[in-house]
Amino acid sequence: MSEHDRDEHDHGDAHHPAPRSPAEVRARALEELLTGAGIVDPTFIDGVVTAYERDIGPMNGARVVARAWVDAAYRTRLLADGTKAIAELGYGGPEGEHMVVVENTSGAHNVVVCTLCSCYPWPVLGLPPNWYKSPAYRARIVREPRAVLAEMGLVLSESVEIRVWDSSAEIRYLVLPERPPRTETLSEDDLAALVTRDAMIGTARVASPQIPPPHTPPRQTPPHQEPVTA
């Protein structure tokens, strides 16, 4: 099967003359052998990858955060049992089975890492960015968190205690950021739009909206947005 399969693959890429990187060559070899042996279904790969590119990402966590900001009872449930409260909004699955939500306050700032590999709460944040997986972040955030956060643009007052969470076991962490000032009139959707991935990892704060919108009517979810089907 080997030569035939390879030729077919090469043919499919005839209009893509860039030389293949060693990693790409290996990935193709692996996929050809696994699909050839019936171990892996290529359409399954397409489906799962597309889900993580379109539907499973930080917009999910942002909805959790926005809900907690506007609904005190939800916030209480979220901090008491993250997994269950997150499931209320329809999010769950691999790397999200055991969620703990940690809340930033004026006196304590939380930040999440996985020093041993790159564990990350996929259902609410999607797949991790490169910096989260980098040796520099994994090595340094537990040793000099204040300096690392400052380098990344988050300068914290000395009076703020930094709490680093190393995801070394089965728990996955989501940071509940502080609701920024000048957002009293925003809708839950507008609030969710303010919440960034980095704020939910803990390397940033949620910024106030740049132009205060005191009389703007609540925005609707854009009609072209895909439904969440995690």
Binding site: A23, I39, V40, P94, N130, W131, A139, D166
Partner: protein
């Protein structure tokens, strides 16, 4: 194992480089690798601990040179070869210079994991009759035992021998040290244990910052006093 993957506290890496507007995948092959891992994980041919240990066993030089998805691909291919689902020679034949895999497990890996459990007599006894009542409670002072198995563990090297305080008791989970090397499922409570940076790094005691590490019961022993 005290592997290169156990990066917490290592100096010398420089600044954290943040890419703005980063895509989920940077190369088409990364998409395929992630999809293959997801597909294989559905087949239950191996658990996450087996997979993680396969990545950890990469040559340290390769580990640092490789991107996240190259590490993923190497770990995946390694475990599939080790489980007999892929033929190494067939794989090598398709890649110029061969397909680099991770190293085999250390010969002492299984014995070390069994010793880790045996050393926590209470855990061992609980598991033997199916129970798993937590030995520690929120507020307890604990010390991380000085155990350094050659096989898989989720106890980072930077907490060895360090004292902390239990801040959370989680439900029992399978001990990775055994699950990565044997079919034995040994569930025991895990704990969120908070350490001060002063305790971890000998930093000035004024630093109030803390690191919470999640640790299985077998990794811990009672401590009389602890730096809070």
């Amino acid at each position: 194992m005290n592997g290169i993957h156990d990066l917490g506290g290592m100096d010398g890496f420089g600044r954290v480089v943040v890419e703005t507007d980063e895509p989920v995948f940077h190369e088409p092959w990364e998409r395929r690798v992630f999809g293959m891992l997801a597909a294989i994980s559905f087949t239950r041919v191996a658990n996450a601990h087996v997979y993680r240990h396969a990545v950890e066993r990469m040559d340290p030089q390769h580990y640092l040179d490789a991107s996240y998805y190259e590490r993923m691909m190497t770990g995946l291919a390694t475990l599939l070869v080790e489980r007999g689902m892929l033929d190494r020679a067939t794989l090598d034949a398709r890649v110029p210079g061969g397909f680099p895999l991770a190293r085999p497990p250390h010969p002492d890996a299984v014995a070390d994991a069994q010793q880790t459990v045996a050393a926590d007599a209470e855990s061992a006894r609980d598991a033997s009759h199916g129970a798993a009542s937590p030995r520690f409670h929120v507020g307890d002072a604990v010390r991380v035992r000085n155990f350094q198995p050659h096989g898989h563990t989720r106890c980072p090297r930077y907490v060895h021998g360090r004292c902390g305080v239990v801040v959370r008791v989680d439900r029992p989970f399978a001990l990775p040290d055994l699950a990565a090397h044997t079919d034995r499922v040994h569930r025991e409570p895990t704990y969120g244990v908070r350490f001060t940076v002063a305790e971890l790094w000998g930093a000035p005691a004024a630093a109030r910052d803390t690191v919470c590490v999640d640790l299985w019961q077998s990794y811990l022993e009672p401590a009389d006093t602890v730096t809070r």
